[in-house]
Assembly symmetry: D2
Homo-oligomer: 134 residues x 4
C-alpha cells in the first residue's frame, strides 16, 4: 500500500543502510505517527480523561518524534550517520514511553491496546536498524 520500498528503489545514489530494515522503520514510524495521534485524541474523548493525561502526552510526543523519524530516514542525500543514530534513539525512547503507558490502559481501552502494540513494533524496528548500523 505504501510507496516506501518503491521510492527507495528509485533513489539515484547509494543508500548507506540495509534497505529491508530501513523500509521497515519508515513504515512502522508512519503507522505509529497516525496511531499515536488517534490514540491521544481517543483518550481525550474518554469519560475518564483525567486518568489518561500522561497517556495523551506520551502519545503526542511519540507521534511528533515518529513523524520526524519518517522524514529523517526517508532522506539519503548528504547522509549523516550521527543524526540517523540519534533520531533512531529518540524514536526508541518515545515508542517505549508510549508503549509502556498505553499498556497500562490496554484492558480498558482497545485504542490503547492497538497503540501499545504499534509502539512496540516501531521500537523494535528502530532497534534492529540501529543494531545493523554498529
Amino acid at each position: 500500500m505504501t510507496n516506501t520500498a518503491a521510492m527507495l528503489g528509485e533513489y539515484p545514489g547509494s543508500i548507506a543502510l540495509d534497505r529491508t530494515l530501513l523500509a521497515r522503520v519508515i513504515e512502522e514510524a508512519l503507522v505509529c505517527f497516525q496511531t499515536c495521534t488517534a490514540c491521544a485524541d481517543a483518550c481525550l474523548g474518554e469519560g475518564n480523561v483525567a486518568g489518561l493525561t500522561t497517556c495523551i502526552r506520551t502519545c503526542l510526543d511519540c507521534a511528533t518524534i515518529c513523524a520526524a523519524t519518517v522524514e529523517v530516514l526517508s532522506r539519503h542525500t548528504g547522509y549523516d550517520a550521527d543524526v540517523t543514530r540519534a533520531q533512531l534513539q529518540a524514536c526508541i525512547a518515545a515508542c517505549k514511553a508510549a508503549g509502556d503507558e498505553c499498556e497500562h490502559h490496554a484492558q480498558m481501552h482497545q485504542h490503547c491496546r492497538i497503540c501499545a502494540d504499534t509502539c512496540r513494533s516501531c521500537e523494535q524496528a528502530c532497534r534492529d536498524l540501529l543494531a545493523a548500523m554498529s
Copy 2:
C-alpha cells in the same frame, strides 16, 4: 497494514464525517507525506538537480501539508468543520501543485512518476471528503 480504520472504530464519541472517505484521506495523506519527502530527496540526489528545484520545493510543501492533514483529520474530539474544510483545501492545493510539477519530470524520473500518481490520488480523496461535507 495501517491502523486507520481500526482506530476510527475505537473512537469513544461520534465522528462527524463519513468514515470510509475519512479513512481514505488519512491513508492517502500518510502515504503522500512519505512519498513527497522521498521524492524531494531523490530530486536532490539527481545530476540535474538545478532543473528540479521547483519540484523539490512543491514536494516539501506537500509533505508538510499532508502530515498536518493526517493530524487534523485523525482528531475528532471538539470537531470544527471550518478547520477540517480549510485543511482539506490546503491539502488539495498542495497535492495539485506537487502532482503537476512531478508530472513534468515523470518520463525522466520514475520517483516523480510515483509521486505524481500519489499526489493525484490524495488530492482526489480530499475532494471526495470535502464534497461529502457540503
Copy 3:
C-alpha cells in the same frame, strides 16, 4: 531575536510577497506554534481537564497548522500563490477556532488568555497578507 527578516534579506531570488507582512506572518505563526503547544499541555495539567478537551484539541490543530505555515511561508523557490493562499486560509481557520475556544477559558486560566491573544494576532497577520495578495 528571530532571524526571519535577515533570512528574507539573504534570499537569492525575488520574493513574490510584501516582505513586512510576510515576516510578520512567519513570526506570529512561530510564536503561535509554541504557545498553542504549551497551552494544550497546560490545559492537560489542569484539575478541570474534562472541561478543556475541546480547547486541547483546537490548540493542537492550531499548533500543527501554524508550524506548517512557518515552513510554507519561509520557502520562496518555486513559489505557488495557490498553495500560499490555501495555507493562509487554513491558518486563519485554525487560529480563529483556537482563539475563540481559549477566549472561553481566559478568565479562569491565564495560559488561555495569552494563547487567545496570540491566536488573534496570528490570524490578523494572515488576513493582512492574504488581503495584500489579491
Copy 4:
C-alpha cells in the same frame, strides 16, 4: 517577543527542568526551525545548488528535529526524562551536522553564516540543559 517564559510561568503543575535553561532551548529551537527551513530554501535558490545538496539536506533534518524539540520540551504533563534526554541528543546531533555544513558555505552565502551561528547556539542550549539534567 515569544511567550515561552510566560507560558512556563502559567503551567499548573511542577516543571522538572531548570526553567531558564529550558526556556532557552525552546526559543533557540524555535528560531533554528525557521532559520534552517529558510536556509534550505535559499540554498535551493542559489545558482550553485548542485554544490549545496548536502547543506539542504542537513538543514531540512535540523528544521524537522528542532520543531520536534519545541513540541517535546514545551510539554510538562506526564514528564519522561528519557524522552527529553533522547530528544535533546537528537537535536544536538542535527544542529552539529547543519552547523558544520553551513560553516563550509558561510563565506560564500550569508544565509549559511546566519544559519551556522543559529545551529551552534541551539546546540549549546541543548547541551547546557542536558548537562543540568544529569
